[in-house]
């Protein structure tokens, strides 16, 4: 038996194919890694290096001075801590709500289930910008969705805190939530009935079955969804700029980076463009690095054994 996967190759000499494949991988990898690598290289250069035209990728006089400057100017560690904190809480809330909803949609037969699932898919198709304005109004004059005025409470503004995003995640309306529910539902649907029935016969209730039997079986799919959710929430610039302008988040800080940096370096008119380039490169690395590390560590959960994560069987 020939050891070959279902590739695209026609009958052509193996070495040509292999060379072509290798070139393709190198080219695309270069394209993907280029912004990061170029920033990494520039960020390690000193001022003399960057003005020296003979220095291309490897700095002659490498320095960490740029990083030292930027971490102070941008309050990096505090921003990192607060970004990780808000992102993690949002992700965990979103995950909990999604797992419950997906399990309900996959494993129970009740009236309106079809409509509910249709709406979940529909939320994916509607760009959130369409209704962002009125959601914004809801949180700007928040009264517990009408409950507050019944109880005679004054509406409060939740804008300026992470609460709008937490509440949206609770209601399965966080970023790209439909996709997460969709993946999890496919997964739960494909689990064999016997697992559940065996648990019922052994006397486990619905919730016990869910927590002790179904959840442990779904770890692979949950890990996949966790990675997606974390990464998307981390990069969620729209909601961050809408609701959390005064929360210390990296995404919003990136948007006016030039301003923050140049005012920290002595005002826009005095600032040296070369220094600014160095500072921007160091910032780029500092912002991308945590996400890249997280992704590289986490992606092995779903890269090997994707077929078990629920993306299939649609």
């Amino acid at each position: 038996m020939k050891a070959q996967g279902p590739g695209l190759k026609r009958r052509m000499p193996a070495f040509i194919w292999k060379t072509f494949r290798l070139l393709f991988f190198i080219e695309i990898s270069y394209l993907i890694l280029y912004p990061f690598l170029s920033k990494l290289s520039t960020s390690l250069m000193s001022r003399t290096d960057i003005l020296d035209l003979t220095v291309q990728w490897i700095p002659k006089r490498p320095t960490l001075e740029n990083y030292r400057m930027v971490t102070v100017l941008l309050d990096y560690w505090e921003y990192l801590y607060s970004t990780v904190f808000v992102t993690l809480i949002t992700t965990l809330i979103q995950l909990a709500a999604c797992v419950l909803a997906a399990y309900g949609l996959a494993r129970f037969k009740f009236k309106g289930r079809g409509l509910l699932f249709f709406l979940v898919i529909f939320t994916l198709v509607v760009p959130p910008q369409t209704y962002a304005i009125s959601t914004y109004m809801e949180f700007r004059f928040f009264d517990l969705f009408g409950l507050g005025s019944l109880l005679g409470l004054e509406p409060v503004s939740l804008v300026g805190s992470p609460w709008p995003v937490y509440i949206m995640s609770m209601g399965c309306m966080g970023i790209k939530n439909g996709m997460l529910i969709f993946i999890l539902r496919q997964f739960f649907r494909n689990l064999p009935n016997e697992i559940e029935e065996a648990a019922f016969i052994d006397g486990a209730g619905i919730f016990r079955t869910f927590f002790h039997v179904m959840l442990p079986n779904a770890l692979n799919a949950i890990a996949t969804v966790f990675v997606f959710s974390f990464v998307w929430n981390w990069n969620n610039y729209e909601d961050a700029s809408l609701y959390m302008n005064n929360v210390k988040l990296m995404t919003t800080q990136m948007a006016n980076l030039t301003m923050v940096l140049s005012s920290g370096m002595g005002g826009a008119t005095v600032v040296d463009p070369t220094e600014l380039t160095l500072a921007m490169s160091a910032t780029g690395v500092l912002v991308m690095l945590p996400l890249i590390i997280f992704f590289i560590v986490a992606q092995r959960f779903f890269v090997e054994g994707i077929e078990r994560t629920g993306l299939t069987g649609m």
Binding site: A3, P6, S29, I32, E138, P273, L291, I292, V303
Partner: protein, 295 residues
């Protein structure tokens, strides 16, 4: 199993709450906004019915909206097919066995994590522009500072005597390639999952019958991964519509938060939304045919 059904509602309770209060009601309200003049008063907001004026304004008075919608649609129509072909091609390569597969997969899927961080690159290039236009920097310094790593190749082309419009086109094309690779992360993952779920025994049986790899690709891989390619295509279409760099939504954003003409902004997003639905409908029609042939 009536008892079981009742528990089902319990599980989807957060979902129902969210759908009603953070999807359906905001959607309806945004539709109302699009027919009204919205003004913010202290503590609340009020609406005044205007009829179709906002829609008329968006389509015939506003000078940029129509143009932006056309550009956005064009971008989607150009990018999505390339994204899907690229994603399919890369996924089939990654599905075969070779040394270093883990590394290649890790790198190729990295755009899933980095896609929206493109805001960094935008910001960096803006800074570059402001530097090059505003200050009296020497050319060598400009080259060294900003263009050294990103555009050295293009600058060398310019020096070699290539007309500047050719160089412009090259740089625009390479920008688009980067965008395409950036947005193909999730489609690639979806298609890869589909390819991995095709039973290996099918290929073995086909090989026994004497099918070439080319034939088994068209007779097995292609038809069996169709439904996932559909999912990936729909995802790519939506992704390109809701991208932060999308011109139409930048205009909507501008009208919402800078001009604060909420009615006009709502009308614009509803017009655009209709186009999205139409486009997704077309995608489904195309694939329905393809999937039917596959069976």
């Amino acid at each position: 199993m009536a008892k079981k059904a009742r528990y089902g509602y319990l599980f989807v309770l957060p979902l129902i709450f969210g759908l009603v209060f953070m999807f359906i009601i905001p959607m309806v309200r945004s539709l109302v906004f699009s027919f009204s003049d919205v003004s913010i008063t202290s503590g609340s907001f009020s609406t005044k019915f205007l009829g179709f004026y906002n829609y008329y304004n968006a389509l015939f008075i506003n000078t940029t909206f129509r143009e932006y919608v056309v550009i956005s649609l064009q971008n989607t129509l150009i990018n999505v097919p390339v994204i899907i072909v690229f994603a399919f091609f890369s996924a089939s390569l990654m599905n075969s066995n070779f040394k270093g597969r883990g590394v290649v997969r890790a790198i190729f899927l990295l755009p899933i994590a980095l896609a929206s961080t493109s805001i960094i690159y935008m910001d960096a290039s803006e800074a570059l522009q402001s530097i090059s236009s505003g200050s009296s920097m020497k050319e060598s310094e400009l080259l060294a500072g900003g263009l050294k790593t990103s555009g050295a190749f293009l600058v060398s082309l310019l020096r070699a005597g290539l007309p500047s419009n050719v160089v412009d086109y090259l740089s625009a094309a390479s920008d688009r390639i980067y965008e395409i690779v950036l947005y193909s992360g999730v489609p690639m993952l979806i298609i890869l999952a589909g390819l991995q779920s095709i039973p290996k025994s099918l290929y073995e049986a086909a090989a026994m019958e004497g099918a070439t790899t080319w034939e088994s690709f068209w007779k097995i891989t292609f038809p069996m991964s169709n439904s996932l390619v559909l999912t990936a295509t729909v995802y790519a279409v939506i992704d390109s519509f809701r991208a932060a760099t999308n011109l139409t939504f930048s205009l909507v954003q501008y009208n919402t938060y800078t001009v604060q003409n909420f009615g006009l902004a709502a009308a614009m997003s509803w017009i655009y939304f209709v186009f999205i639905i139409l486009l997704i409908g077309v995608v489904f029609l195309i694939f329905r045919k393809a999937i039917y042939y596959g069976e």
